[in-house]
Amino acid sequence: MVSKDKNRRLLLQGNEAIVHGALAAGCRFYAGYPITPASEISELLSVKLPQVGGTFIQMEDEIASMGAVIGASLAGEKSMTATSGPGFSLIQENLGYACITEVPCVVVNVMRGGPSTGLPTNVSQGDVLMSRWGTHGDHPIIVLAVSSVNDCFSLTVRAFNLSEKYRVPVIILSDEVVAHTRECMTIPDQDKVRVVDRIQPNVPPEWYKPYADNNRGVPDMASFGEGYRHHVTGLIHDERGFPTQQPKEIDRFLHRLHDKITKGFPEIVLSKTIDMEDAEVCVIAYGSVSRSAMMAVKKAREHGIKAGLVQMITLFPFPRKVIDAALRQCKAAIIPELNMGQMSREINRVNQSGTAIIKMNRIDGQLITPDEILKKILSVS
């Protein structure tokens, strides 16, 4: 009865599916501060984490939350926080610290209308470029955009896996629509979930160099409290973890930070294409908007128009290959977004084939409808 019940189809919100994904990936530490529309993640984890021996802390704000997440990860726990716009602003300072110290962690940002406290209960995609460049300095980071309850589960697992493998913070960009839409999913058995753990050093503590390069470009990571004493700093550091101002060491360090992600592109950069084989017009979308786009493309096909969809799943590193191919193939690309065109600018940046890039922007707190996109497709066909 129990096992039958476990595999039951569950009606879950996107936020709840993120919790189940995090637990399946091995997340055992959460620090956060409640904020609409991300609060359900805190709420459910505050119940679930203690049940599996994990730790839930409600912190005084998001700056401290991110600090706690980094600390817990250094101590060996897979850690996460979740927030929305105003909290995401506060997280940025320590997010940079996680980037330079190469501390694996997952940050969920459920986008709502901004700037500032903006529209707490309405949908937006206004934090796209902030998720890439919110913290200062040249830094690598991975940003994944979810569009459904299933995505929320599977991409959260993937976010933890990538974070552990590449020792890099991973941002999950959700939005109010995805977060609060309920859909059915079956949570897979734990042994069917592919879980990646950080690689621990296999040398004696006295030989351990915490930031030593290897063929993966990702140093082995010892947990605090296991005898591998080492120094962690936000200053550029040498392979022992101590500050350095040697140009050679600085250069080597920063290049390694970027190169480890570049090497991982095939695994990191994800996208989905629908009806692109013979498409003459494409819609490029991500997050909840990609669902409107999917219906618009299907309706366009019913009108006899060769339309296709490129759904960006990894927003950063930018999925240049698939976008470039789509732009070369199509005479026009429509980019519907719930912002003033943050991604369409990125897409135009790689546009070498003179394809018409058509922005579609909605910033009134409502989701773009399929009919709006369809009209645009019809107008360029």
């Binding site: 009606l11 209960t121 309920r182 859909e183 299907k298």
Partner: protein, 197 residues
């Protein structure tokens, strides 16, 4: 997904009437128990009570792309304000169900009017469960859900000790809806309007 297999229900009323709960139970029954594809969404403001409340359930035999309602097949209006606001978004051959305790001016004769709140108060003893009386009627009239599964989904989601009250409320709604002969209603809102000319 074929568009014609899409069935859209909007539950509407005022904050505090349990509009979203009713929609969630419907979605749970259709999705988790009946095994169809379902998307349940809602829109809400910052206030906890009062103000318009709206929740939607989209049902389909295939995967659902756009998760919100576009052309409503069935509108439940638990207040006059929500009836007035959303009536015009029903598609021509759609259907309106109103709580006739609170909706005094029904804008069409293609409507099922049942006094959900009065039934909850008089028959069950708690006005609180008017949403579940209404859910029973929505479940029956829509023909989109196995009514046994609807009851199971409801019972799995209500607080312990309130099962009987909620079950009775749901069944009262189903009973009332059974008495209505939908085939006797005008076939479409449009026909009705045209006949007036």
């Amino acid at each position: 997904m074929k568009n014609d297999s899409r069935y859209e229900i909007r539950f509407s009323g005022s904050g505090g009437q349990g509009i979203i709960t009713a929609a969630v139970v419907m979605a749970d029954a259709v999705g988790s128990l009946d095994g169809k594809y379902v998307c349940q969404t809602q829109s809400y403001g910052p206030e906890a009570r009062g103000g318009k409340s709206k929740a939607e359930v989209v049902i389909s035999n295939g995967p659902i792309d756009y998760p919100k309602a576009m052309h409503i097949d069935l509108l439940l209006a638990m207040t006059q304000a929500s009836c007035d606001a959303y009536f015009f978004e029903i598609k021509p051959e759609g259907l309106l169900i109103v709580d006739s305790t609170l909706v005094e001016q029904v804008p069409t004769s293609r409507a099922v009017a049942i006094p959900f709140t009065a039934i909850a108060r008089k028959e069950i003893g708690r006005e609180l469960v008017a949403n579940m009386v209404a859910l029973g009627a929505v479940g029956y009239v829509s023909g989109q859900v196995n009514l046994k599964n609807l009851e199971d989904a409801l019972l799995s989601r209500v607080p312990k000790g309130t099962e009987n009250m909620n079950r009775e409320a749901l069944q009262a709604g189903i009973e009332q809806a059974r008495k209505v002969d939908i085939s006797n209603l005008p076939r479409s809102f449009v026909n009705e309007w045209e006949e007036e000319f």
